[in-house]
C-alpha cells in the first residue's frame, strides 16, 4: 500500500519567510564550507568506494551471462505470443547492447529477433485462411470456459482460506480495541498510544496521520483536554474503524456492510458511517450486490487486465448472439451467462494471480475472434483487402451491441416526445446517427489496430488511419473511460494506449529482464564514467546510478526461471557492496554544500533590518516578517477594546468572544486600581456580587464590545509590535511582545531542513 502524503500548502508564515529570504537577495553561493574541506570529503568517498566498485561494475556482465543461459535452457522466449511486448523487448536489448556490448545480450537479441521473424512469417501464412468451423469453435469456447471456471474457483478457494487465516488476526484486533475502550483510562495520551499501536497493524494511512496529528497537538498543548478526548474517542476511533474495514477488505475479500459489522463485532451503523468517507476518499467502491446489500471492495489502482478482458469477451459474444442460427444460440447464451458470472466473480476477488488464467483466456479470445470472423465471412466470403476485413471484423463485434440500443431508441425520439415535451427533429436525428456511426467505425478501427500492433499513441494511430489526431485522441479517451483501453506508458511525449492484455509468466519474465538489461547497461557506463574522476558536482548522479543498481538488484532477487532464482549466489554477494556504496554516497552528499540552500548566515547577521524592510514592503505589498515572538496578554490590563485586532496588519491577533471570568477573581487589588475607573468598578462589582468563584470560561455567541480574550496566531504574527504600541491598557498596556527572533536563525533552519 503506497502511503502517498497529500501535498500540503505551506504555512503562511513559512511562505513569508521564504519570500523574505528571497527578497533580501540572500541566495548567494555558499562559502561556509571551504573548498578544501569539500575536496577532502570527495577524496575519502573515492577511497571508500574503490574496493566496492569492482563488484558492482562487474555485476551486470556476470549476472546476465548466467541469466541468458538459464533463459535459453528454459525456452521461455519461444513462448512469447505478444508482438508488442516482443518488439519492446528487442528495442530494450538493443539499447543495452550500445551501452554494454557483451555476448550474452547479443545472443538474447538473436533469440528474440528469430521469434519475431517467425511471427511475421506466420502472419503472412495465416492470413488467407478464412473458413471457420463455427460449431467446433463454439464447443472449444465452451471447453475453455469450463477450464476458466475451475481456475477461478481455485482462486476463490484460496481467497477463502486466506480470509480464514486473517480471521484470527482480525479477532485479535477487535478484541484489543474493545479492551482499550472498556478500560477506565483517564490519561487520554495513554489511550491514544494504545490505539496507535493497535492501528499500525491496519496500515491505514488516514488513521496513522490523524492519530499522529492528535498526538502532536496534545503533546504541544494546543488542544484542550475536552477537545482531545473528543478527538480521540470520535475521530481517531472512527479512523481506526476505517482501518479495520480496510484490513478486512484487503485480506478477506469483498464484503457487505453487515458482513463487516459481524466480523468486527460492532453495530452495522458504525460500519455504515465509517465507509461513507472511505467511498469519498476513493479507498473503497461498490462492486456488486449480494441479495439486496451492496458489496464493497477496496479500490485497486487499476483492475487486473484479465478482469477487463473477460468483460470485453462477454460483450463480443453478446454481439454474436443475433447472427448465429438457433442450434448455436443456446451455446452462445450459455457461454455468455457464464462469462458474465466470471466477470462478477473476478471483480469480487479484486486482485488475484493472473498467470494461470493467461493461457485459457488467450485461447478463448482467439476462439471468439475466430468465431466472429467466421460469422462475418460466412455472409460474404470474398475479401479484397485484408486489413479492411480485420477492421470490420473487430468493428462489427464491437459496435453491434451499442448500435442495437441506439437503433431501437432513436425512432422513438423522432416520433414521440421526451419528458420535457421536446421532440427530436428527423433531420437532426439523421445527422446525429451518421455522426455516431462514423465515430463508432473509427473507434473500432483504432481498437483493432491497437490489438494487432501493440500499444500505440494517438500520433501513431492518426498516421495509420488518416483520422485527424484530435479525433483519435477523443476516441481514445472515450474508450479508456469505457475500459476498452488502458494507458501503459508514454513515448516521445505521447501517451501509449493498449488493450488490456493478460501476460503469461514467460512474457513477464522476458519483459522484466529486457528492461532491466537496458537500465543496468546505461547505469553501469555512467557509473564507470563518474568513478573514473569523482568530482563534487557529480555526487547527485552518482547516487542516482547506484540507486538503479539497487532497485534492479531487488527485482532480480524475485525473478524465478523454472522455479529457481537465477544466479542467487551472485546476487547475494553483490548486495552488500551496493548497499554500502549508496550509504557512503549519501553521507558524503550531506556534508558537501552543493545540495544545500545557498545562503550564508553570516551575510544575514549584518543586514540592516529596518532599511531592508521598507524596501520589502514596497516590493511585496505587505508587512515584512521580523521574526517569531510570543505576544503575552495580561488580562487584568485588557479593556477588550479590540484596538489590537483592528490595527494588526496581518489579522494575527483577535479578540475572541470568550470571557475568562475565573481570572476576574485572580486580579490583584493593585492591578484593578490601575484600570480606568469604570472598568475597575465593573470588576469590583462582579467580585462583590459573587457568591462563588467561577471555574469555567464563558463562551459568547458573538462579538461583545469590551469583553473577550485575546488570542494570537503565531503563524501569522510578524512581530511588528503594532498591537503592543496601540494597546490603551494601563501602564505599558496589556500586551507584550516577547521576541524570540530572528531572521538569521530562521534562515539557518530553512537551510538545514
Amino acid at each position: 500500500m503506497s502511503d502517498t502524503v497529500p501535498e500540503r500548502d505551506m504555512a503562511p508564515k513559512r511562505r513569508r519567510m521564504m519570500d523574505m529570504v528571497l527578497a533580501l537577495g540572500g541566495l548567494k553561493e555558499e562559502s561556509a564550507v571551504p573548498l578544501s574541506k569539500v575536496n577532502e570529503e570527495i577524496a575519502s568517498l573515492r577511497d571508500e568506494l574503490s574496493p566496492l566498485s569492482e563488484a558492482i561494475l562487474g555485476f551486470p556482465v556476470s549476472y546476465f551471462g548466467q541469466l541468458v543461459a538459464a533463459l535459453d535452457a528454459s525456452g521461455l522466449v519461444e513462448e512469447i505470443r505478444d508482438k508488442s511486448l516482443l518488439s519492446e523487448a528487442v528495442s530494450n536489448v538493443e539499447a543495452a547492447l550500445t551501452g554494454l556490448p557483451i555476448e550474452s545480450f547479443e545472443s538474447l537479441l538473436v533469440n528474440l529477433q528469430s521469434v519475431q521473424k517467425r511471427f511475421e512469417k506466420k502472419d503472412e501464412e495465416e492470413a488467407p485462411e478464412v473458413t471457420v468451423d463455427l460449431t467446433a469453435t463454439m464447443s472449444s469456447i465452451s471447453d475453455l470456459i469450463s477450464e476458466l471456471d475451475t481456475i477461478i474457483a481455485d482462486h476463490e478457494r484460496k481467497a477463502e482460506s486466506d480470509a480464514e487465516a486473517a480471521r484470527s488476526e482480525l479477532d485479535e484486533l477487535t478484541s484489543e480495541l474493545k479492551r482499550i475502550l472498556s478500560e477506565e483510562e483517564s490519561d487520554i495520551a495513554a489511550v491514544l498510544d494504545a490505539l496507535q499501536k493497535l492501528g499500525t497493524k491496519t496500515r491505514y494511512g488516514p488513521f496513522l496521520r490523524t492519530s499522529a496529528q492528535v498526538k502532536r497537538g496534545i503533546r504541544e498543548g494546543r488542544i484542550t483536554e475536552d477537545r482531545s478526548s473528543k478527538l480521540v474517542f470520535e475521530n481517531v476511533i472512527m479512523e481506526l474503524n476505517r482501518g479495520i474495514v480496510m484490513f478486512i477488505l484487503n485480506k478477506m475479500g469483498s464484503k457487505t456492510v453487515t458482513q463487516m459489522a459481524d466480523l468486527m463485532d460492532v453495530p452495522s451503523k458504525i460500519v455504515q458511517t465509517a465507509i461513507i468517507s472511505m467511498l469519498q476518499r476513493g479507498d473503497i467502491e461498490m462492486v456488486g450486490l449480494e441479495e439486496d446489500a451492496p458489496v464493497f471492495s477496496r479500490v485497486l489502482a487499476s483492475p487486473p487486465g484479465s478482469t477487463l478482458v473477460i468483460k470485453q469477451l462477454g460483450q463480443q459474444i453478446r454481439a454474436m448472439r443475433n447472427s448465429v442460427d438457433d442450434a448455436l444460440a443456446s451455446v452462445v447464451d450459455e457461454s455468455l451467462a457464464r462469462l458474465e458470472s466470471f466477470h462478477e466473480r473476478l471483480q469480487i476477488l479484486g486482485e488475484y494471480d493472473e498467470t494461470p488464467l493467461s493461457v485459457p483466456i488467450n485461447s478463448l479470445r482467439e476462439a471468439i475472434d475466430a468465431a466472429t470472423e467466421g460469422l462475418l465471412s460466412s455472409a460474404k466470403s470474398e475479401s479484397a483487402d485484408e486489413l479492411r476485413l480485420l477492421v470490420s471484423a473487430g468493428l462489427e463485434a464491437f459496435a453491434r451491441f451499442r448500435l442495437k440500443i441506439t437503433l431501437e431508441k432513436g425512432p422513438n425520439l423522432v416520433s414521440g416526445l421526451n419528458v420535457y415535451g421536446e421532440k427530436l427533429d428527423a433531420e437532426k436525428y439523421e445527422q446525429i446517427m451518421s455522426e455516431y456511426l462514423d465515430s463508432e467505425l473509427e473507434r473500432g478501427t483504432l481498437l483493432v489496430l491497437i490489438r494487432e500492433l501493440g500499444a500505440l499513441t494517438a500520433h501513431d494511430l492518426a498516421e495509420k488511419t488518416n483520422i485527424p489526431q484530435d479525433r483519435v485522441f477523443r476516441h481514445l479517451l472515450r474508450m479508456k473511460r469505457d475500459e476498452l483501453l488502458t494507458t501503459v506508458g508514454e513515448t516521445h511525449g505521447y501517451v501509449l494506449y493498449d488493450v488490456p492484455r493478460t501476460l503469461t509468466e514467460a512474457e513477464i519474465i522476458v519483459q522484466t529482464v529486457c528492461s532491466l538489461a537496458a537500465q543496468l547497461a546505461s547505469a553501469k557506463s555512467e557509473l564507470e564514467q563518474i568513478l573514473s574522476d569523482l568530482k563534487a558536482e557529480d555526487i547527485g548522479r552518482l547516487a542516482g546510478s547506484l540507486e538503479v543498481f539497487s532497485k534492479a538488484h531487488d527485482r532480480l532477487t524475485k525473478l524465478e526461471i523454472g522455479g529457481a532464482i537465477v544466479a542467487e549466489d551472485l546476487l547475494q554477494s553483490v548486495e552488500e557492496s551496493i548497499r554500502s556504496a549508496i550509504l557512503l554516497t549519501y553521507r558524503t552528499r550531506a556534508k558537501i554544500p552543493s545540495t544545500r540552500a545557498k545562503v550564508t548566515i553570516d551575510d544575514l547577521l549584518d543586514v540592516d533590518v529596518p532599511s531592508v524592510l521598507d524596501e520589502y514592503r514596497e516590493m511585496m505589498g505587505y508587512a515584512p516578517l521580523l521574526g517569531f515572538g510570543t505576544v503575552n496578554w495580561d488580562h487584568s490590563k485588557c479593556l477588550g477594546c479590540k484596538s489590537c485586532e483592528n490595527s494588526c496588519p496581518e489579522d494575527a491577533i483577535v479578540l475572541k468572544p470568550r470571557i475568562k471570568i475565573p481570572q476576574f477573581f485572580e486580579f490583584t487589588t493593585e492591578a484593578i486600581e490601575q484600570l480606568p475607573s469604570t472598568k475597575a468598578m465593573f470588576y469590583n462589582t462582579v467580585r462583590n456580587l459573587a457568591t462563588k468563584k467561577p471555574v469555567e470560561d464563558i463562551p459568547l455567541d458573538s462579538e461583545t464590545p469590551g469583553f473577550g480574550s485575546i488570542e494570537v496566531d503565531l503563524w501569522l504574527c510578524v512581530a511588528c509590535r503594532t498591537c503592543v504600541r496601540i494597546c490603551p491598557g494601563p501602564e505599558e498596556g496589556a500586551l507584550e511582545l516577547e521576541l524570540k527572533w530572528s531572521l538569521p536563525e530562521i534562515v539557518r533552519q530553512i537551510s538545514e531542513s
Binding site: L639, C641, S677, T691, K692, K693, R725, P728
Partner: protein
Amino acid sequence: MSEKSDVILCTCGKQLQLDYEILTDRIGKIELAKTVTILDTVCQDDDLEQIAKMIEKNEGRLVIAACTNQKIQPRIDQFLYSKGLDPTRIQYVNIREHSAWVHDDLTEASEKSVAMTRGALARSSTSNTIPTESKDVAGHVTVIGGGIAGIESAISLSGLGYNVTLIEIADELGGHLAKLPMVAPTGKSGTEVLAARLAALKSDSITILTRTKVKYVEGELGRFVVHLVTDAAEEDELHTSAVVLATGFKEFKPTMIDEYQYGKNPDVLTQLELSEMLTEDSLKRPSDGGEVKSVIMVQCVGSRSEDYKRDCSKLCCTFAIDNSLEILKRVPDAQIRIVYMDIRVPFENELIYAESREKGVDYIRGRISMVWSQGNETRVKLYDSLLDQYFELSSDLLVLSCAVLPPDGITELSETLGYAIEDDGHIKELYGKLRRNETRRRGVLAVGAVTRPQFAYEAVTDAQAAALVIHNELQGGRIEKIARGAVLVADDCVGCSLCAQQCPRGVPLMVEETDLENQDDEQKLVFKATIDTLNCHACGVCQSLCPSGATQLNFLTNEQLWAEIDAVLEGAGSDYPITLCFYCEECSVSTIDIVGTRKMKYPASTRLIPVPCSGRVSIVDILKAFESGASAVMLAACETDRCHIAGTGNEIAQVQVDVAQEILNAIGWRGERVGMYRMFSAEPERFTEAINEMVKRAKDFGPTPVHLGTAGKWMEVKE
C-alpha cells in the same frame, strides 16, 4: 455635591388616584427635597408661572412629578424659553402613566411614586445646565453622482443657499435618465425631463466636476474632506459640510446566463441598450443593420432569482412597456412580444400597460428556454405557461429586462463614509419609517436608486427631502442648538476607540496625539477621541462602553444614573422584591404611556428609570442595580432593527444584558434576573407581559444572594 431640589406634584386636575398627603409627607422627608408643592395643572399657564418662579429661585433644580414628560416637557420648555429661563435642569417623574393609572393599590402606587421621585431628586442633585452652543460650518455640500437624483439634490441645495459641488464619473451629466426615450407617466423623453434641470444647474453656486471619482472621505458633519481623483489621475481635496450620495444603479449584464446568448448574439440586447438605441433614433438590428419588425422582450432577467438578485427590480416592467410603445411609434406594424412572470407596473404606469395592450403588444406568461442563431435569424424557444405550449419564434431583436443592481464602488466608499449596506448591496437608510435618506453616518445622505430601485420622480422626491434634511442639520452654515449629548473629557480618555467603533452615527473620531508619542522606549501610539457634542445624537452608547467614564451624556452622567438607581431602590429587599426597569425614550416610553392611558394593570413592585436609548445602559448599571437590592432588572427597548438611533443602540444593550446574564450565572446568581424586551410603541401588551414576567421572576427566585453590605461573601465560599 448633594444639591437640594424643589419638587412639584401635579394632581392632574385632582383626578389622580394617589394619596397626596402621604406623598407630600414622605417626599418632604427626603434629604434632597427642598420644598414640595402641589399643583393641579402644571400644563396650564397659572402653574407654568409658578414653575418659572421656582426655576429662578433654585438655579433651575426642579423635579416635576406629573404626567408623561412626552406631553408636558415641550410645553414647559417652550414657556420657560419664552421667559428667557433655562429648563435643562428640570427632571421629570411620571406619576400618572407609570403609577396612578396602572396600579389599583393606592398605598403601593404611592410608595412607587415616592421611590421614583426620590430617584429623580438624586438625578437632579448633580444635574448640569446644558448650554446653547453654536458653530459655523462651510455652507457647502458635495453631491456624488450626476444622475437625476444628484442633479435634483444640487438644484434644491443651491435653492436653499448652499454652495454645491456635483461630482460625476462619466463625461456627461444625466445618468440613466438621459438614455430613456420616454419616462412614464410623463410622456416626455429623458432628455426633455432633464433639460430644464440642466439649465438650472448653470448657477454660480454649483460647481460641476465630470470625469471625477471620489476616492475616499474623511471628517465629520460640518467638516468633511472629500478626496477626488480626476480622469487625468490628478488628486484633489474638497472641504465640505455634508455629502449626498446619488450614485444610482447598475444594470445587470447577463453574459453568464447561457440560454439568452447575451454577448454572443449581437441582436440580443438589454432593455437599457434598447432605450439608448431608441433615444439615438437608430433602431435597427445590430448584427446587419436590418430593420426591426419583430421584438421579443424577456422580463425578470436576473431579478427574482436566487442566483442573481432575489427581489423584483421594480423598474423593468415599465421600461419594457415604454420601449415597446416607442418602437410602435417608429414601426407601427412591429410585432412585439413580452415574455413575463408577473407584470408589475406601479401607480399611474398602469395606464401605459393598458395602452400597450390596446396597441397590440403581445404578453406571454412564461419563460424562454433557449436562444440560438439560424442563418442570420435569431431563434427563440419559449414556453407559454398559460397555454402549456412551447413555441419557436424568430425575432429581429431579443431584449432582456435585466435586474437593477447597486452601483459599483459603494462598498469601497462605505469604508470611509461609514454608512451601512443592506444585504442586497444597496445603501441602508437610517430608519425606513422616520429617517429615510439619512444614513448611519451623520451628514451623509443617500438619495435615488442607490438605496433601492427608483423611478425618476421618486429620485426627485428623495433628492428634495435630503436637501431639507441637510438644511435642518447645517442651518445655512451657522449651527445653533442646545448642546445636549455626549461630552468628552480628553484627559480621562485612554484612547481605546470603543466609542468610535460602536457609535451608531460615527460621531467620535480618533485623533493621534503625536506630541505625546515617542517619549519612551515603548513607542506607544497615543490616540484620543474627540466628540463634537453638536453632532451627537445623545444615545449614550459611548458612555456605556467607555472604560474610563471619559465620555458622558451631559444630561445623564454616570454619577446621576448611579445615584438615581441607588435612590429608587432605597430599602429594597427580599420581603418586597423590586423589579427595576430601564426604558428607552423612543419606542418604550410611548409603549408605557399607552399602557398608562389604556389603564392596563401591572404590579406596583416595579420602578422605572428613563434612558435616552437602551444603549445607554451598561453592564455596570445593571450590576449596580442588583448591588442596590433590585431583585430583577429589565431593559425595555425598540424592536430589533428598529432602533431609532441608527439600529445599533439596542444591540449594544442586548450585549450588555447577555453578558450580564452569563456573568450572573457564573457567579452563583440566576442569569434570568436580568432580561431585555423589545417593543413597538403600538403594542402595550408587550410591555405588560414583559414586566409581569420579570416581576414573577423576582418573586420566584426569592431573595438575591448578595447586595450592598453583604458583599465579599465569595471569599469564604469554597467551590
